[in-house]
């Protein structure tokens, strides 16, 4: 049943192809090739060449401008050699001050009066603590004078020790632990 349309379709397709092939095509004029060759080998008129050259210059100039812009942007984003930010990690915003305080504490502990440890209780001349909690107010603590490294390491107890540990953990980007006595 479906063979008849298929045959008909094939027959009309053949007729279409035959009809298209039999369509008259004009004979080319005798100088067809010569004219085409002359036109092809003749140099293009100067406005066409000028436009092509100008287009090439414009494209290369635009590319150079874009590349220069990217390079300048990249160099501007780099830290300067003398900058204090050089080498610091931007991922820990609080680390800068904490590390400075720790550096001061470890290299020049006597001069630490401000910053993170500046708010810590002062040691009085009598060996006790003038303020703060009572955990470090011990009778055995008889060291006198300003804070020394030994006094920070040895007799440091309770609140003060926790504050220093807190500062260290902040400096290394670790979340501080809860204050446990």
């Amino acid at each position: 049943m479906s063979e008849l349309p298929d045959v008909l379709e094939a027959e009309t397709l053949v007729a279409l192809r035959e009809g298209l092939r039999r369509m008259p095509v004009p004979e080319p004029s005798p100088d067809f090739d010569a004219r085409a060759l002359r036109g092809a080998l003749r140099p293009a008129p100067w406005p066409v060449r000028a436009i092509a050259a100008a287009r090439a210059v414009a494209v290369s100039g635009a590319c150079a401008a874009v590349l220069t812009g990217f390079a300048l942007h990249w160099f501007a984003a780099l830290p300067q050699p003398g900058s204090a930010d050089l080498g610091r990690s931007a991922s820990f915003p609080g680390s800068q001050r904490a590390s400075v305080d720790l550096d001061l504490l470890l290299t020049n502990p006597t001069g630490v009066r401000s910053g993170l440890l500046g708010s810590l209780p002062e040691r009085d001349q009598g060996g006790g603590v003038s303020r703060g909690n009572g955990a470090s107010d011990r009778p055995g603590n008889t060291s006198s004078g300003p804070t020394s490294p030994q006094s920070l390491v040895g007799p440091m107890r309770g609140h003060r020790a926790l504050r220093v540990a807190d500062a260290r953990s902040t400096a290394f980007g670790v979340q501080s632990a809860p204050h446990i006595a």
Partner: protein, 196 residues
């Protein structure tokens, strides 16, 4: 050089398709460097096909010759932009179709040239030729180009899509519609002929 062109001339019949393609690509490369003999060889090989395509699209012999000539000039001047994967004839067809469409845009109302059947034609052949003429007059220029490229030159749908600049699916559907329209016209004409 002349020997090389002569070798290429003999290839289509004797050698394989790959050999012919390689020879053609070499000739195209020489034509791109401005070799007149290579240009002449390409002209002699594709002149008839380009002229037929232009005639089918424009439906005017005079305009078709001008358009074919302009297509060759454009092609020879732009040979440096020719890339191998798209065959040279497909690339040339694309230039021809664009040139013909440019000509069609510039010209005033389309001139329809209806020709009487040749005396030597068999009756069926004459009918099919007249029906094809009627069909071509009803189709748009890009569809006429696609029809000729498919049914006469045997190009693949993908190549035709590249030439005409539309998706492959569009080419398929338009050609299907054109064939269906031809079938209607052809069957009507055959019935008419039987009645007479």
């Amino acid at each position: 050089m002349a020997a090389h062109v002569a070798t290429c001339e003999g290839l289509p019949g004797a050698g394989g398709a790959q050999q012919t393609d390689a020879c053609e690509l070499a000739t195209v490369a020489r034509a791109a460097r401005g070799d007149p003999e290579a240009c002449s060889w390409l002209l002699s090989r594709y002149r008839g096909r380009v002229l037929r395509l232009a005639t089918m699209i424009l439906r005017s012999a005079d305009e078709a010759e001008d358009a074919a000539q302009e297509s060759f000039i454009r092609a020879f001047r732009g040979l440096s932009s020719f890339r191998g994967p798209l065959g040279f004839y497909t690339w040339l067809c694309r230039i021809t179709v664009r040139t013909c469409l440019d000509h069609q845009r510039k010209r005033r109302p389309p001139r329809l040239e209806v020709r009487a059947p040749h005396a030597g034609d068999a009756e069926d052949a004459a009918v099919s030729r007249l029906v094809v003429q009627a069909l071509l007059d009803q189709l748009s220029a890009p569809v006429r180009a696609a029809l000729v490229l498919r049914e006469v030159d045997g190009l693949e749908y993908q190549e035709i899509a590249r030439v005409v600049g539309v998706p492959v699916g569009t080419v398929r559907s338009r050609l299907h519609s054109a064939r269906a329209r031809f079938r209607e016209l052809y069957l009507d004409a055959m019935q008419e002929a039987d009645r007479v």
